[in-house]
Structures are given as C-alpha cells and as structure tokens.
C-alpha cells in the first residue's frame, strides 16, 4: 500500500502540520514515510503546502505528481491541487474558505466547514486536527490511538488544555463523516 498526500492552505492554517502528524504517526506504526515541505520566500497570507508519502515499501520519490488524498484548506489550494487528485481519491475541502467547488465526480469529496467547527470547539488553531479526524475515519492510513499518544507526549506537560482541545477536534472530524 502506498498513499500520497498533499496538504495545502494559507500560511498558519496548519497545512504542513497535518502532513507532519500523519507522517509521524505512520512512522510509529512501522510504515515508510517521507515529508516534504514546499519551502521558499513565503509571505504572510501566501500559500504553504507539504507532501507526505506513506508506504509499506521503501519510498523512492518524495515528489508526487498526483495525490490520493488532498487537504485543501483554502480556495487557491483546491484550484491548484484539486485537478491532480487520482480518480477514486479523497478530497477534504474546507468549505468555509472554498466557495467554488471543483465539480469532480470521480473522487470522494468531503466538504467540511473547518473554521466553523474549530470555532465551536473554542480554538481556531485546531482546524487542522479536525481534518486529520476526517482522514482517520475515511481512510485507514493511521490509527486514532497513535496520533493521540503522539499528541499526548508532545502537549501533556506543555499545554494540557490544548491537548484536550486537539483530541476533541480529531473526534469532531471523525464524527462529521461517520
């Protein structure tokens, strides 16, 4: 099994972090992984994206032409990377910031108001964790428990309140597509 993931959004939305957490969790589950950020002279409000490859076998190219899963956190990301999602792939689209759908019927599209849901939880920063919840429910690439244990290690001492919010956010994403 090999899954190629593209995650893209405005700088600060957490697009790179989505790919990073998935990569790290998959590594903990014994998979081969690569994580590659698009780096450059980025500016505030510009776009940021990262690709992650998760595979049972050794990964040759970390660069991908097409993706199996796309996280599009804003309209420019959907416009740029939406067309290169493989038929049968999954598009998780932040409907709060993507007013114009792509109109592809050969892929599974989850339109989810990530900003609204994050506000409901009480912190807009957890937007990306809701998106991770969606992918955990929709595609069995990583387990809920792995990512929670990783988050716990990361935040337990530093910020237990934020840890709670993050876990809540992942659950919210999972429930949204159940």
């Amino acid at each position: 099994m090999k899954v190629e993931i593209m995650s893209s959004g405005f700088g600060g939305q957490g697009a790179l972090t989505i790919a990073k957490f998935l990569t790290k969790a998959a590594m903990k589950e014994g998979k081969h992984v690569t994580w590659l950020p698009a780096y450059g002279p980025e500016m505030r409000g510009g776009t940021a994206n990262a690709t992650a490859v998760i595979s049972d076998e050794e990964i040759a190219s970390p660069i991908i032409g097409q993706s199996d899963i796309l996280f599009a956190l804003n309209q420019p990301s959907l416009d740029k990377f939406g067309p290169s999602v493989r038929p049968g792939g999954l598009m998780i689209v932040n409907s709060d910031m993507c007013p114009n759908p792509l109109g592809r019927d050969d892929v599974e599209v989850v339109n989810i108001p990530l900003n609204t849901l994050a506000k409901e939880i009480g912190n807009t920063k957890v937007l990306n964790m809701i998106a991770i919840g969606v992918v955990i429910e929709k595609r069995q690439i990583i387990k809920f428990e792995t990512i929670v244990s990783d988050l716990t290690k990361f935040l337990e001492k530093k910020n237990p309140a934020l840890l709670e919010l993050n876990i809540k956010a992942i659950r919210k994403g999972m429930e949204f597509v159940k």
Partner: protein, 363 residues
Amino acid sequence: MSEKILMKGNEAVAEAAIRAGCRLYFAYPITPQSELIEYMAKTLPKVNGTFLQAESEVAAINMVYGAAGTGKRVMTSSSSPGISLKMEGISYIAGANLPAVIINVQRGGPGLGDIQPAQGDYFQATKGGGHGDYRLIVIAPSSVQEFADSASLAFDLADKYLNPVMILSDGLLGQMMEPVEFKPRVSDEEIEKHSEMHYDWCMRPNEDGPNHHHHEINSLEIDPEVLETHVNKLAEKYKKIEENEIRYEAYNINENNEMVCCAFGTAARIVKSAIDTLNSEGHNIGLIRPITVWPFPTQAIADSIHDKVKNVMTFELNLGQMVEDVKLAVNGKVPVGFYGKVGGVVFTPEEIIEKIKENLGGK
C-alpha cells in the same frame, strides 16, 4: 537498533556529524541549509564543542583550514553561492593535505539563483571549483538516512587520506523529513584517537619544548621542483582513492536490461520511482546511482552495459554535467541521452517515465 526519529536532512546530518566526533564547526547561514547551522549552534556547546558563526563564508572556510591543521574533526556547510566563496580555502586545504568536511546543500544557480533544490554544482564539486590540481572526495546521498550516514563516512575518509571531503546534497534532501536511525555517539576517548592518528604532522602543543613544535602548515611551495614532487604525491593519493573508495548503488542491473539509467542524489530517487513503475509494466530498466561522484563509478557503468542495452539515459537537475562522466564510462558502446531540469524545478516520476518511454529501443 536505536529508535527511528523523523528529522529534516539538514538536522540529521548535523546530529550525525556530532555523533561522529565533530566538535568544531564554522559557517555562515544560507537557505536551504540554515537548519544545519542552527542545529550546530544549539547542540555543539552542549558537547563541549565550538560553534562559531563567521562573518562570511570565506572566513568560515579559513577557520576550518586552521582547525584542520590541529588534526581535529572540523566541518563547515553552506549552499551553492556560499560554497563558491569557499573555493579558494578548499583548494588551500586540499593543497595542504588536511582533513575537513564540507557540506553543500545545493540550490538553483548560477549566481544567487534561487533557493530551490538543484544539482548544478556537480562540475564544481568533482572537477575542481578552486584552482590547481586537486580532488575532493564527493559523497552524494539520496535519502535523509544516507545524508546522515555520510557524515561519519566523510570524516573517516578525510582522516584516512588527509583530504577534504564534500557531501553534495541539495535543498530537497535538506528540507525533507524522513525517519533516521543514528549510530551511537563516539566517546571522548575515540575523539582523542581520531586526533592521535595525526600527531606526526599536525599542530599541537609539544612536551619536548617550544622548539619542537611544527611551525607551519601551508600550501605554498615556491620552488617548482618541490611543488612538482608535492603535486605528484597528491596524484598518487588520488589514485589510491580511486582504487579504494568508489561507492555506488546498482538497482535492477541485469543481463536483460533494455536500458540503463544514471542519476545521483535526489534525481536518482525520482528516477527509481519511474523505473519501478515501468518495470511493473513489463520493462526491464536498471539504474546506476553513483554514491561517490568522485571517485566516479566508471567501471560499474561500463560493466552494466549488457548485450540487450540499447542506450543509457542520464537524469540530472542541471543542464547535463555528470552525463559527461557517464559518456566517458560508456565509451561509445551505446548512445547516451540526457534529460534535466534547471532553475530549482524538480522533475516528477511521471515526466521521467515519459522521457524513458520516448527513448526506449535506442531512440
């Protein structure tokens, strides 16, 4: 086996260098290698090492030159334009037979270029760059793990041959995160042993008294006959390196290959993906990936041209530099084609598949 850690290539090679006994590091920041200098700044003071951000790349390489004269494991790193600035110092270090490690996290050139991954410094790394008859041992890793592993290899080779060693990486390997496993950190006793092997020539305090110091290490030999002998000795050393230190990966090389591809570093990974796809469709394509780009695996490439091979394709992130060495290795036996991307643009596996298909059958 130690636990795998998810790390950027820049950080992984820095950690690996410290584990290999590097306690002296001088550099000047530049994208896309700045995580490397940051990691050294954070970590070296904790292990009793010396980190110094020099006022320029030229200063940094000359600090390396001086420190290498004490026989200690010393390193610098930069990206393409910064490496160009270091070239004078590198030639001096090579001329003075000193061990040192230089990392180049390549970006797009020429000039200031851009900050995206490229392989345009192949000529500079393998054919000179600085002046005079000298050679660098050049290691070109293609994964974060190999990037990290190349640190201890580079220091070992530098110590063994008293020669500067370059790790030729690129922005993609520097910025990418992959799981990496580290070798255990060498002990202070081992670090002492690394230095001890240089006691017969290096600068160090001498208990015999002030007049028994080695006074001078330099690369100046004003008498032509002395310089002639010196350079011929360098040539002997380079010959030995060519005999003993060629490293490469032969991927799916066999008697039924219809095509052999050549690529190094990041480009080789993308080519590998393309080859995997094509071979799963019934083709039989092999890849020679030089790990040392100098010394170059000339014989390995020559030996990989079996009877059914119609042509060789070389893929690089430049206008075609290594392809010249590939042509020398193939020596006219079959045509050698080239495809490259420049300006920091990286090809996708799909593009390589298309190029290979276009050229199958010796076209």
